[in-house]
């Protein structure tokens, strides 16, 4: 997970220091002035960090004090570690830690509702901003908290900005409200540069959590149980006793995204000015911010990183060159080929999905389709990919940007609530099945969606998938009308989408299923045939590189790489 790293420091006029400064500040971006948060602005904050810490203890700038205020029970804190150099055990490095909390404080649920992000070093865990010892001096804390009343995430940062470097002060750094509407320029230097939709981000959300300490990639030098010659000195720090694998953070982030998705969908429905309740007329509810909600279906608003299921490449150049190669053959991740999580449903991400079983374990059942260790070594070597300027691959094989759980969960929630039909979703995906992320074709179709329309909640799952419900759905009708009015050219993306939506002779889900079957036969056939296998693998690996580049070059998504293009994805030199 990343809470945006602020790079540019601007010293503001607010530099008066006193020993116990209870003032809470605000700062929009790294380059903005630091200003005092007004009383009315403070009254709009109601997340666990504000309520338990900042409301009455804005002077809490010692990490131990902050943690004690949030969760006094040290056993109920968990510490997760991420770093693109996590495989390097050399002393003298920094690592990024995420701290989350379990349990409740009174009525306030901590788990999934508040997290901190700090740095530590191999020698010590900085907690005291006044320490004269550099390794012990706390320099910043980044944090977010879920405001359950306003249904939004609030972002904070504790740092020296605005104090002339004299001391650390807390700043409110913005909320998730309307974060999705920000332009790349507006995001720059703000927390929303990384928190694109405003929700917590854990890029490597699902197994095998590349770059994280996890059950699939234990980090010995962080493990207090390892011998002294293996572990870092920092492992004796009490906080390190709470070291936990990323698999547990995954659950907390999934819960956080789920909360956010529900809130976003509710926010997009027409409400009564008098009561604030959703207006229901003749069983129909009106969507008033449709394009914001539907954007997740048409546009890649975020991405997650996945790789071959726990198969280490043994080609990772950190800490030193390694040319061993994978220990065994592996299946290419299904989400490389298509949006398998959403199309199939189920699986570790737990979406309801479209229930098209053919997408699950796509090309992952037949060992003939698996990539053999020597083949993978060849692909990596021939492509001349590098990490940190050194030839080599990521720690795990076939690392790719994939559809985000954020987008998938939004789409899933829209389907479950009835705002879109599964057939509508299938039609959109069918337009460009083989480009699970950053599809220009899909993105070009969003303009046909209405900003307002009405829908009724499906009675049950069967009703949700009912083709007649799809045909009667106002969104379907309005989109068909809009494309018809556009009079698309035959063979165009618009014409294809229109034909699938109308479903002449076959439902959109059936159409998508047939596409998937044909796709698997086509690629599987080329992989199974010795004469075409090597060429096909080279083609597929070329698509891997292409998708990595496209993400890094995207003006919004590229911000999630905080390594300047050196460490997030293996790529050949320009």
């Amino acid at each position: 997970m990343r809470i945006a790293r602020c790079i540019v420091w601007v010293i503001s006029i607010c530099s008066t220091v006193c020993a116990q400064d209870q003032r809470l500040f605000k700062q929009q971006s790294n380059s903005s002035a630091v200003e005092l948060l007004s009383t009315s602005e403070r009254s709009e904050l109601d997340d666990p960090l504000f309520t338990l810490v900042l409301k009455d203890h804005a002077d809490a700038v010692n990490l131990k004090e902050i943690l004690d205020l949030l969760q006094p029970d040290g056993d109920e804190r968990r510490l997760f570690v991420v770093d693109e150099r996590i495989k390097d055990p050399q002393d003298g490095q920094l690592r990024r830690a995420v701290i989350d909390f379990r349990g409740f404080r009174g009525p306030i649920r901590l788990n999934s509702n508040v997290m901190l992000s700090v740095s530590f070093n191999s020698e010590d865990f900085p907690t005291d901003p006044t320490s004269g010892i550099p390794a012990k001096r706390l320099r910043f804390v980044e944090a977010w908290g879920w405001d359950n009343h306003r249904r939004r995430y609030n972002y904070y940062r504790l740092d020296e900005a605005g104090s002339g470097g004299a001391k650390l002060t807390w700043k409110f750094r913005g909320s998730s409200q309307k974060a999705d509407l920000l332009s790349p320029d507006e995001r720059s230097g703000t927390c929303m540069a990384c928190h694109i939709n405003g929700a917590p981000v854990m890029k490597e959300l699902l197994r095998p959590w590349n770059n994280w300490h996890s059950i699939d990639s234990p980090t010995n030098y962080l493990n207090p149980s390892q011998p002294v010659n293996v572990r870092w000195p920092v492992t004796t720090h009490p906080l390190m006793q709470n070291l936990t694998g990323a698999e547990s953070l995954e659950q907390s982030i999934i819960a956080a995204i789920s909360n956010f998705a529900t809130a976003q969908v509710n926010r997009g429905l027409l409400r009564s000015d008098n009561t604030g309740n959703v207006v229901v007329r003749n069983g129909q509810v009106e969507v008033v911010q449709a394009s914001r909600l539907l954007r997740h279906l048409f546009v890649t608003t975020e991405f997650n990183i996945i790789s071959a299921d726990r198969r280490t490449s043994n080609l990772h150049p950190i800490p030193e060159a390694n040319e061993t190669g994978p220990a065994d053959a592996f299946a290419i991740p299904s989400t490389f080929f298509l949006n398998a999580d959403l199309i199939a449903g189920g699986g570790p991400s737990g979406l309801d999905g479209l229930k098209i079983d053919e997408a699950r374990a796509f090309l992952g059942r037949d060992p003939h389709h698996f990539v053999q260790p020597d083949e993978y070594k060849r692909l990596v070597k021939q492509s001349q990919v590098q990490i940190d300027g050194k030839p080599g691959d990521a720690h795990f094989c076939w690392l790719i940007p994939a559809p985000s759980h954020m987008d998938d969960k939004m789409i899933d929630t829209l389907m479950k609530r009835g705002l879109v039909t599964p057939h509508f979703v299938a039609a959109v995906l069918a337009v460009d099945l083989r480009n699970p992320i950053l599809s220009e074709k899909r993105a070009s179709l969003l303009r046909f969606c209405p900003d307002r329309y009405s829908f009724s909640e499906p009675a049950n799952e069967q009703n949700r998938f009912d083709i007649q419900r799809h045909r009667d759905h106002e969104l379907t009708k309005k989109v068909i009308e809009a494309i018809e009015a556009f009079t698309p050219d035959p063979g165009s993306t618009e014409a294809e989408f229109l034909a699938i939506l109308r479903g002449n002779g076959e439902t959109p889900i059936e159409r998508l299923r047939q596409q998937i079957e044909a796709y698997e036969v086509e690629v599987g056939g080329r992989l199974a045939e010795p004469a075409t296998r090597a060429t096909e693998l080279t083609r597929l690996y070329g698509l891997v590189l292409q998708s990595r580049r496209r993400v890094l070059n995207d003006p919004v998504l590229g911000s999630l790489d905080e390594t300047g293009g050196r460490l997030l994805f293996p790529l050949p030199p320009d």
């Binding site: 197994r207 059950i215 789920s258």
Partner: protein, 348 residues
């Protein structure tokens, strides 16, 4: 022999005079684990009292299942392979209760060896409403009162655990554990005590290369696509490289730890793992071997109503405990081979 404790912790083994039998059975597994030359798997008796215990957690969701949630629920013995299985009770098509279990059948085998009455007492202790008949427990044409202890245990086991070579779709016949009338103990063919010991033993040979690749190097002892096996295997490998000797902690087996996620009852957030505030919605008992989720009230997980056990299994954490100590600290005690070793068929 090490004084292995009752894994369920309710004293039934002792009151039924089955604790000694259970200990003999366990000793066989530990000896199997430790006997292979070169492994750093130890008998518990070889570890000093200062040995360190490590908990190895994993999610209960069976990620190897190429199926949707409903199918994972319905085909327990094909899919639920993470040392966790579950049983769903419904009322008018609505899920009312989900029982997750990690109990291993050896506990009941020990009771069966003592006698039919002891076995029934053990079953009733787990399922208070149970009234198992001899035919249900052993099959027809079997008189438990004249059978030998070994015959009783074998017949019982044969009706609760799917044989390793059984085809997909095979369901054990004992209705008190196959879901017809309840769920008693693990029955999926990979969820066995023997598989657990074999896994730790094979992964406790020091190897070169990444510890996470050990699973791929030990053949059938480790299921590389499961949540549980690679995690246990990696941990065993890490420990033995320190170098330390290791063993499965007493009581050997799998513990239910906790549920993750955001839970609400009637729309109000609750700490589902806190018995004082969860209104009885989630109860872990039998020493962490049984967890019951009561869905009779409006219970939601991450804003979704409960529609399957697989859904809950995604947020259910279970764990095995291993205990380890530096090689120099291991106590040099001779392995005593008992007369009651599990057969290889049982082990694998």
């Amino acid at each position: 022999m090490f004084a292995y404790t009752d894994p369920i912790g309710r004293g039934v083994l002792a009151t039924q005079n089955a604790l000694g039998t259970y200990r003999d059975l366990l000793q066989g597994f530990y000896e199997f684990g430790a006997e292979k030359p070169g492994t750093r798997f130890c008998l518990l008796g070889n570890l000093p009292t200062t040995a360190k215990q490590t908990t190895i957690p994993w999610p209960a969701f069976p990620k190897t299942a190429d199926a949707d949630d409903k199918a994972i629920d319905a085909r327990r013995f094909d899919f639920q392979d993470e040392y966790v299985e579950w049983h769903i009770e419904r009322l008018r098509n609505q899920i009312r209760r989900i029982t997750f279990i990690t109990e291993l059948p050896e506990y009941y085998e020990a009771l069966a060896k003592v006698g039919h009455g002891a076995l029934v007492a053990g079953i009733v202790d787990a399922i208070p409403s149970a009234s198992p008949t001899p035919a249900e427990l052993y099959g027809l044409d079997f008189d438990p009162d004249v059978a030998t202890p070994r015959e009783r245990a074998a017949r019982f086991r044969g009706r609760v655990v799917v044989p390793f070579d059984a085809p997909a779709g095979t369901v054990p016949e004992n209705p008190w554990t196959n879901g017809s009338k309840g769920i008693l103990c693990l029955g999926q063919k990979f969820n066995t005590m023997g598989a657990l010991f074999n896994l730790v033993r094979e992964c406790a040979f020091p190897r070169s290369g990444s510890s996470t690749d050990t699973c791929a190097a030990v053949g059938g002892a480790c299921g590389p696509r499961r949540n549980s096996d690679p995690v246990i295997c990696t941990q065993a490998q890490e420990v033995c490289r320190i170098p330390q000797g290791l063993s499965l902690s007493d009581p050997a087996g799998i513990r239910i730890l906790e549920l993750a996620g955001a839970w609400r009852i009637d729309g109000v957030e609750v700490d589902i793992n806190d018995p004082d505030s969860n209104q009885g919605a989630w109860v872990i008992d039998r020493n962490g071997r049984r967890g019951v989720l009561d869905t009779s009230r409006a219970l939601t997980l991450n804003n979704d109503s409960i529609s399957s056990g697989a859904q809950v299994s995604r947020v259910l954490q279970v764990a095995a405990d291993v205990v380890s100590a530096d090689l120099a600290e291991l106590l040099d005690r001779e392995i005593t081979v008992t007369a009651d070793r599990p057969s290889r068929g049982v082990i694998i």
